[in-house]
Amino acid sequence: MIARRDLSVRLIDRRDLSPTCFSLLLACPENVGAEPGQFGMLTCGSGIDPLLRRPFSIAGVRPGAAGATVELLVKEVGRGTAWLRRAPLGATLELLLPLGRGFNLDAAADGRPALVAGGIGLPPVLFAAQRLAEQGVGFDLFLGAVTAAELLEVSRCRAITDAVGGELILTTDDGSAGEAGFVTAALCRRSAQGRRYPRVLACGPDPMLQAVARWASEAGAVAELSLEEPMACGVGVCLGCVVELADGRRVAACKEGPVFEAARLAAHWRP
């Protein structure tokens, strides 16, 4: 386990990725590590309002001589993310990371996994793709969005997927790019055509994750789902982000997750 650190970080770059999404590069004063699927809690203002940090899945960590650079992909959905979109470059933010449990990449490396990202669910999937590519593990990457303009980081995803000889499958709900329909429908089609994925790593909206879980249970695959829950602390003490497991226990997504094997989750996650 990588030790968590609460750091003052500097906002050094921001890039628009779509009409609503952007990337942030944060310079840390020391080298930090993270596993794909882990997240950080980032301040989204300079005072007591907004009060709480926001959780963001880590999209990548690059070590450097002066300290690591952490990349986040953010969708503007409320006050905190609106502030992040307008914060001046050079601003100092507080970042607590790495938190939670990520994907089981060792297990994923045993076979050729499917990686599935919907909309702003891309960051942990992108991080996993990068890490698997570094390890020389092949995979197919399914990247879906509502419309072409909301498909994030397509060329980057293509480069990583090409490097491992995998396929990048793009889908849009409205058919404006790639295959028309849900990203999970594309997963089912590949599976029906005989492509075997022993494991699927997924992050996206809840209905997408439920569809991934359904496909996995039918295909006999293991699904690892990165869940999103409202959370105040990110460190397991507020108990705001609990997720119900198949055994009835309610566990903090920030600590036992945010990545869970679908088979461990309560029935409504496995329709």
Binding site: D6, D49, L51, L52, V235, V237, C241, R250
Partner: protein
């Protein structure tokens, strides 16, 4: 060098900053970011005789300079705490106050009786003010008659310091405080969260699954401060532990001046897990800047006129 030690009744604390119940887990969750032994004390998550699953989600929502929660006292139960958590807290040298919760009076007593078998537990804080459960909690804290009886029942079970955490939602704050003292409380913690709701205007539904929750954070600080002051004025000899929106050393000093002998930091921990240590350092810096040599000299020092 500022002398940070304070007393809450007979209980001596190395410093006046405590981690509040429900915001610091069982005391060991944040050891890497905020070592519990460096705090005046840690107050455990509310413990009941048996584990509780808590409320459905959503349980939390952010509001202006605050948040509303309805966790519903999810906890591991007193047995697991005493067996698995308390020994390590003791070996670290942390001062531990157990926050006690029950749906019925005898359950409060059961929790205390179990903890009495653990030497290292310093005292108890009765939760009679949780706004987020159907039974227990606030219903005891709102009725002085029930509160006297409940406090007396617990008093009979322990010689250790016994605090009662009061509800800001009770109709008569001072009468409630008096009731806890009459029942044998050594000190009063105030305040718990303020009953609140948040509404999603698009769905036309409450945001939280339970509808109601408890408001905490800087938004409630002025109310908490007023309540500490009111109780201190009415019952000047009763030790108080102040809590409500404390997020800085100055906030903490204000509570001490209003009559609190110590303070609890809660929601600020969610913002910054090491907040209690920062606040303690800021209290010390404030004392240095004001020429205050003993932090306890601030207690009740408000000059009203």
């Amino acid at each position: 060098m500022v002398d940070l030690a304070v007393r809450v009744g007979a209980l001596r604390l190395a410093n006046p900053v405590l981690a509040a119940s429900g915001t610091f887990g069982y005391g060991l969750d944040l050891v890497d970011l905020c070592p519990p032994e460096r705090l005046g004390a840690v107050v455990s998550k509310g413990l009941s005789p048996l584990p509780r699953a808590g409320n459905p989600t959503p349980r939390i929502v952010e509001t202006a300079a605050g948040m509303i929660n309805a966790i519903g006292l999810q906890n591991i139960g007193v047995e697991a705490f005493c067996r698995e958590v308390a020994p390590e807290l003791a070996s670290r040298g942390a001062t531990v106050i157990v926050n006690v919760f029950g749906e019925r009076p005898h359950e409060y007593r059961e929790v205390i009786e179990r903890c009495e078998r653990v030497d290292s537990i310093a005292g108890y804080e009765l939760n009679v003010s949780c706004p987020n459960v159907d039974h227990g909690g606030m219903e005891f804290g709102h009725d002085p008659k029930q509160l006297v009886a409940l406090t007396a029942l617990c008093r009979a079970a322990t010689q250790r310091p016994l605090w009662v955490k009061l509800s800001p939602n009770a109709p008569h704050l001072v009468a409630t405080a008096q009731a806890a003292v009459d029942g044998g409380a050594d000190a009063l913690t105030l305040i718990n969260t303020l009953r609140a709701i948040a509404i999603d205007p698009v769905r036309r539904r409450p945001v939280l699954a339970t509808g109601y929750g408890g408001l905490s954070g800087p938004a409630i600080k002025p109310v908490a401060l007023r309540m500490v002051w009111d109780v201190h004025r009415a019952l000047p000899t009763v030790p108080l532990v102040g809590i409500g929106g404390i997020d800085s050393g100055r906030d903490a000093v204000e509570f001490l001046l209003a009559g609190a002998s110590a303070v609890q930091v809660g929601t600020a921990i969610f913002r910054q897990p090491s907040a209690p240590l920062r606040i303690l350092a800021e209290i010390e810096a404030f004392c240095v800047s004001q020429g205050v040599e003993e932090v306890r000299s601030l207690i009740g020092g408000l000059q009203w006129r």
